[in-house]
Symmetry: C2
Subunit: 425 residues, 2 copies
């Protein structure tokens, strides 16, 4: 039996056990701040399999030193990171398997058909909060790792398995792992790509633009200057900036099926204080897509220049400039070169398992891959089993068939990348 067949068979033989473990992990509602129980299960499992395991509490004082930190809390007590290392025998190519353990809240539980923390399996789908985003993905990479161990394969390079906290609220877990020194030649992140391969992942920033006007009584509104009207001028310029920034990406084959590769979404517009008074202030809040290959600083600069140029469109802004604050999320974009060897390996293994060409695309959202790429200098690829549209939704599920297929592809890819050691069975 060739290696591929052995991998497939080994996964199959352990399927029930893997499903049971995924259910156990799903039953722990590991929302931000509540990751301990799920992380303990992960750490114990990695230890059982003989990995070197590191469990630690991310250090705010260290995190705050990084420009990539989103300081949404200042204490990580009870929220450990877990890293397990399968050491390579030689100094071969290494890989990080990075996944986050935190899940978004279940929302209105009454709307769920299945209890969000049940892990119920129905028609080949395992249901629950975090199944698709991304505990299902984490289990897929864990299966890949365990299968390699089960088959007694020794690799030349290290496999670094990272179960991190806080991806959903800004990336502190992955940033802490980078700061702790975990490195590899490439990273695979099994976020819910529906088995599409994303060698490019856009980043995103949140912005809040403030526009000012001059108040006046509504009956003599011509004595004032409406911050709503001025705000709309800014709205239009933001939309023009989106058009301009997306133009070069439209030629990119990764984004050919995407109407707006890196959207700027204006999500909130609020202005004025009284129906019968001219609005003296308006705020525009939104999400700013950051192109793969672009830095957050470059993206910010282009936005600020657009605001600065408003004065050429409307004199008002000369003495009443629109200002911007960057608050909340700022995720850098991530990715790898399109001729990166791991990308080719993943494609090849996908074809081997699925007998068809994989879809190669750019992600429409940010992941911890941005931190790995930009803060860690590690090329990163997103490839996972979850159903994209179910992330953060009611009745979230992962398809078990896709999960095992993903595990099979990743096991084959790791072996190809890290290479089998001469002393291996």
């Amino acid at each position: 039996m060739d290696l591929h067949e052995r991998i497939k068979e080994n996964i199959k033989n352990h399927q029930d056990e893997y499903i049971a473990f995924l259910q156990k992990i799903v039953k722990e509602p590991s929302t931000t701040g509540n990751e301990l129980a799920a992380q303990t299960l992960m750490a114990d499992r990695l230890k059982e399999k003989g990995l070197e395991v590191d469990v630690w509490i991310p250090d705010y004082d260290e995190l705050i030193k990084s420009k990539f930190f989103n300081p949404l809390r200042d204490n990580y007590e009870g929220s450990p990171n877990v890293v397990g290392i399968l050491k390579g025998t030689e100094n071969g190519r290494s890989v990080i398997l990075n996944g986050h353990i935190d899940v978004v809240p279940a929302g209105d539980e009454k709307k769920w058909t299945y209890d969000p923390y049940s892990g119920d399996v129905v028609d080949g789908k395992l249901y629950g909060r975090g199944t698709t985003d991304m505990k299902g993905g984490n289990i897929a990479t864990l299966i890949a790792l365990e299968t390699i161990i089960n088959l007694g394969i020794q690799l030349k390079g290290d496999v670094v398995y990272e179960s991190v906290i806080e991806e959903e609220t800004g990336g502190a877990g992955t940033l802490a792992a980078i700061q702790r020194g975990y490195k590899a030649d490439v990273a695979i992140i099994p976020e819910p790509s529906e088995m599409r391969i994303f060698p490019k992942q856009q980043g995103s920033l949140w912005f809040e633009v403030t526009v000012t006007g001059v108040s006046a009584h509504g009956g003599t509104r011509y004595e004032g200057v409406s911050a709503l009207e001025k705000g709309w001028t800014v709205f239009e310029e933001i939309m023009n900036l989106e058009e301009k920034r997306n133009e070069p990406l439209r030629k990119d084959p990764l984004y050919k099926d995407n109407p707006i590769p890196i959207p700027i979404n204006i999500g909130q517009f609020n202005g004025g204080y009284f129906p019968s008074a001219v609005a003296e202030k308006a705020t525009i809040q939104g999400r700013y897509g950051v192109a793969p290959g672009e830095t957050i600083e470059e993206a910010k600069e282009e936005f600020i220049k657009m605001l600065d140029d408003l004065k050429h469109k409307d004199d008002w802004f000369e003495n009443h400039p629109a200002t911007v604050e960057w608050g909340g999320i700022h995720l850098p974009p991530g990715g790898c070169d399109l001729d990166h060897p791991m990308l080719n390996i993943l494609k090849e293994k996908y074809i081997e398992v699925e007998n068809e060409e994989p879809i190669i695309a750019g992600s429409t959202w940010g992941t911890d891959g941005g931190l790995l790429t930009q803060a860690g200098g590690i090329p990163s690829i997103v490839f996972g089993p979850g159903t994209t549209s179910m992330a953060h939704f009611t009745d979230e599920y992962v398809e078990l068939d896709k999960l095992f297929k993903t595990a099979e592809i990743i096991a084959l890819a790791i072996i190809d990348w890290c290479e089998i050691s001469a002393g291996s069975k």
Copy 2:
């Protein structure tokens, strides 16, 4: 000494007393719900002068029967209306002198140079909340009335002096006086017109338009429909409606110096719930100017038709119509015919006192004149001493010279209108 000279002299002789009484009234902070003390002073004064005085609490159950009622409270306990009648000897032409006793709150008292309830007199200006809007005006008409009494003049027609509550919050006081049966052939309202004569007063309505969209993740915003963008389409159509509605008024000499005779002010625009999500709802709140001569119903109809026609501009509105709620203020417009004899009398008396032509214009705001005209069927003219721009402002004041001049003009006008009785001295 002719009558005009006697009026002038009589006012002059009582100036200090009038100033002291105005100060007494200003010292009572008669905001909505707190009118009792000021109204008691007014009632006592009218009684002292020998008028028939009626003091009563407006009746919510009666008010609610009127389509003109703005039900902002359901109990008027402690907020009496006061009416004093100087009976005419014959069935001559009658006049209502209508003024509101309620004042808006003082706002941040620390910003005031003079205590807002002091009534301090500095350089010919009497300071305090309500001095311009409109206790100063009320005292001007009171002086006109008292001067006629002081001079022993008996009139053929009635003079109905109304000191009403609640103009600032919707007009319940004047509406209650109409319902109680107080009628006259014309009404003068000494609101702060800065001694301009307003034979036309616009009305105003508050509206809240709701626009819907479809939510989606900001990274795939093209899967949603932005309620902010749709809201802006509505915003533009509202502004087009303003243009259309003002077109005919621009030819009106009363509005020739007014850039927008009956403005539609969009005061608030609020939409969206999350920076990285497509907004699914937006609300647009504003103040809708109602033309003199127009009914509130006609104005509403035109607005609703504009919303209905949105579907011809953008298919979206076919199945997702923008809806409107009319909340808060709805003041009908008021006024009199431009050949109304009282308007001519006021002009003539103004010239007699001021030796120059008066400014005849249309008001930029609503007053109780709208209720008198539309609910009471009484032609109404606004003419008062207050400084328009100081209404509702910090350091509000009334110029005493203007106040006494206004009193003189109104005394002359009343005598001309109601005519001196044959049996008068």
